[in-house]
């Protein structure tokens, strides 16, 4: 990936983050910190990695995206809108009565949504089974499952990781985002061991490092039946100085003043770097 493409992706990420802030502020509800943190990863996936066609959102050979991180949904919406699955105008109706963009994605109504986002655990079971069934099709599209350290810490999730590892699903990629205490090298090692001991191919990268993300995805051996796990370390740096809450999952209302300040700081230069 060359420098200009990296800058382009940075610029798109900044625009996506602005949209997240705007939509959450207009809605007066919904968490935004995690969505802001996951924006760069989603931008990479939707612009560089996944095979998709926004004008044909249900195309059979498309790669599928699953997630169990409800807090990342604003980022997913903002990315889908920027990628052309629907008009950006829809973002300003986020969580409104009758709006297409509900608090959790409406699988039936929203273009680009491949699966419901579940609170019910373990959502990885649903994503893995989809991947397994799709692996038998001619195109064998990939299923990318985005999850967080919160899910990874559950016993039932670990059981599923072991089961999936034994079974072998070559087109299944779990992207595990580590934050807080787990975003350390210790946390990374622990999660990596869990996957590797269960027969998964495992790679690591930083969420804001597009080159590293590209290298990680490219280095997976897709001829092997092993499922893949990409462990992402997230730094929670968004390019602006919004006061951060202690718990990243905490949902809080963001004021318009804070949004204006953040939007100003997020203004990027043509080379993708913040102007401030």
């Amino acid at each position: 990936m060359n420098e200009s493409r990296i800058n382009e992706l940075k610029s798109i990420t900044a625009e996506v983050r602005k949209d997240i802030l705007r939509m959450v502020a207009i809605a007066h509800c919904g968490s935004f910190e995690r969505a802001l943190a996951d924006a760069s990863l989603l931008v990479y996936l939707y612009w560089e990695e996944m095979l998709l066609a926004p004008i044909e959102p249900r195309r059979e050979d498309r790669d599928r995206f699953f997630t169990d991180i409800a807090e990342s949904v604003p980022a997913l919406y903002a990315v889908l809108a920027r990628r052309g699955f629907f008009e950006r105008e829809q973002l300003w109706h986020y969580r409104r009565l009758g709006a297409m963009l509900q608090g959790l994605p409406d699988y039936l109504r929203t273009p680009g949504i491949d699966a419901p986002c579940l609170n019910a655990a373990p959502a990885i079971a649903m994503a893995a089974q989809s991947a397994l069934d799709l692996s038998c099709s001619l195109d064998s599209p990939r299923v990318i499952f985005l999850t967080s350290d919160a899910s990874l810490s559950s016993e039932e999730f670990s059981v599923e990781i072991k089961r999936i590892g034994k079974f072998g699903i070559p087109n299944f990629i779990t992207v595990a985002v580590l934050r807080g205490g787990n975003g350390s090298s210790d946390g990374e090692e622990k999660i990596k061991k869990l996957f590797e001991s269960s027969g998964w191919q495992t790679k690591c990268a930083f969420s804001e490092d597009f080159s590293a993300l590209e290298s990680a995805f490219a280095s997976f051996d897709y001829s092997s039946r092993a499922p893949k796990a990409l462990i992402i370390m997230s730094e929670n740096k968004f390019g602006f100085s919004l006061p951060e809450s202690k718990e990243i999952e905490t949902s809080r209302v963001i004021g318009m003043g804070e949004v204006d300040l953040a939007l100003e700081e997020l203004e990027v230069s043509p080379n993708g770097n913040s102007q401030k």
Partner: protein, 316 residues
């Protein structure tokens, strides 16, 4: 009327029907939970069409949902308690809300479990499933209705819940010429004095009750309400307009099940005296299914008593 008894349970019939569906439908797949696996008997299914999940219902339901997302037409077999109780949030979020065509077959509903504990004898499964928006509910009485319902399920692109018994059934076999569909019901015996609306294993009891009522000069119409949701309003209203009263019979708690569905329908449109033959508001003890049905009043005798009461009060 002559009734045909056999030693087959609906589970046995389900296995046969599933093998036939596996043969003709390329997208067919049956997920069997760890708890249901012990019942065995799926050797007739091609190995690529049956998935023994070796996992509880919560995981199995999500796997079935994932399969539906990949374009398959999945069935899932599990025990009622693990599906309707433990698996509720998975059904709600992963199947009912996105309206995925997952067909859930639940074993051992009501008091059909063999000397199990209260936790295993789930009486509220129909009520729980009825409250889920869009969920269709079928309670077959015999192998032919099961076959009809599974055929109908092929045309349904939304989730459905099918309650199966594992004890032998007993119903007449000479009147089955109708096509089964969601929102349908079968009139198994025509009558003008009282409408007996039953589902599942209680259909056989309703037919016996109708014979006993005939001796008391009460002409009972027996309706096999195999589709609990959507409720067969047309058939019920047509019957009740003739009889002026109604008794429901089900192997479930009386709150929120078939009685609830019938009362909601008739209360809105054509109120008539009603009685319910079902378990009242309590949990049940351990025991054999026959003992439990006798003890908790799920027999033809209770249907006769209830019918005589409503017949005396019937709307004229």
């Amino acid at each position: 009327m002559e009734t045909h008894k056999n030693d087959n349970s609906l589970l046995a019939a389900f296995r046969t029907v599933m093998a036939e569906h596996a043969e003709k439908d390329k997208d067919f797949v049956l997920f069997v939970t760890e708890a249901a696996e012990v019942y065995g008997g799926f050797d007739d299914l091609p190995s690529d069409k049956v998935v023994f999940t070796h996992a509880p219902a919560s995981v199995s339901l999500l796997r079935a949902a994932g399969s539906a997302l990949a374009g398959k037409q999945p069935w899932l077999l599990g025990k009622t308690a693990e599906i309707a109780a433990s698996g509720y949030s998975q059904i709600r979020e992963a199947i009912a809300i996105p309206k995925l065509p997952v067909r859930i077959a639940a074993l051992n509903g009501g008091v059909s479990t063999e000397q199990e504990s209260t936790a295993e004898q789930l009486l509220e499964d129909i009520a729980i499933m009825r409250t889920l928006p869009g969920m269709k509910i079928f309670v077959p009485a015999d192998d032919l209705s099961l076959r009809g319902i599974t055929d109908a399920a092929d045309k349904i692109s939304e989730p459905l819940y099918l309650r199966l018994g594992t004890t032998p059934y007993s119903t007449p076999r000479d009147l089955y010429k109708e096509e089964f569909h969601a929102g349908g019901a079968r009139i198994l015996r025509e009558g003008t004095g009282v409408t007996i609306c039953a589902c599942g294993i209680m259909v056989g009891q309703a037919l016996k009750a109708a014979e006993m009522l005939e001796e008391q000069n009460i002409s009972a119409e027996v309706v096999d309400c195999y589709s609990v949701k959507p409720f067969p309003e047309r058939v019920m209203l047509s019957s009740v307009r003739r009889t002026g009263c109604c008794v429901t019979a089900e192997e479930a708690g009386e709150i929120g099940g078939l009685f609830g569905a019938a009362a909601e329908c008739l209360g809105r449109t054509y109120p008539v005296p009603m009685r319910s033959v079902a378990l009242d508001d309590r949990f049940v003890n351990s025991g054999t299914p026959d003992e439990l049905r006798e003890f908790y009043g799920l027999t033809c005798k209770e249907i006769v008593d209830a019918s005589a009461q409503v017949w005396a009060l019937r709307r004229r």
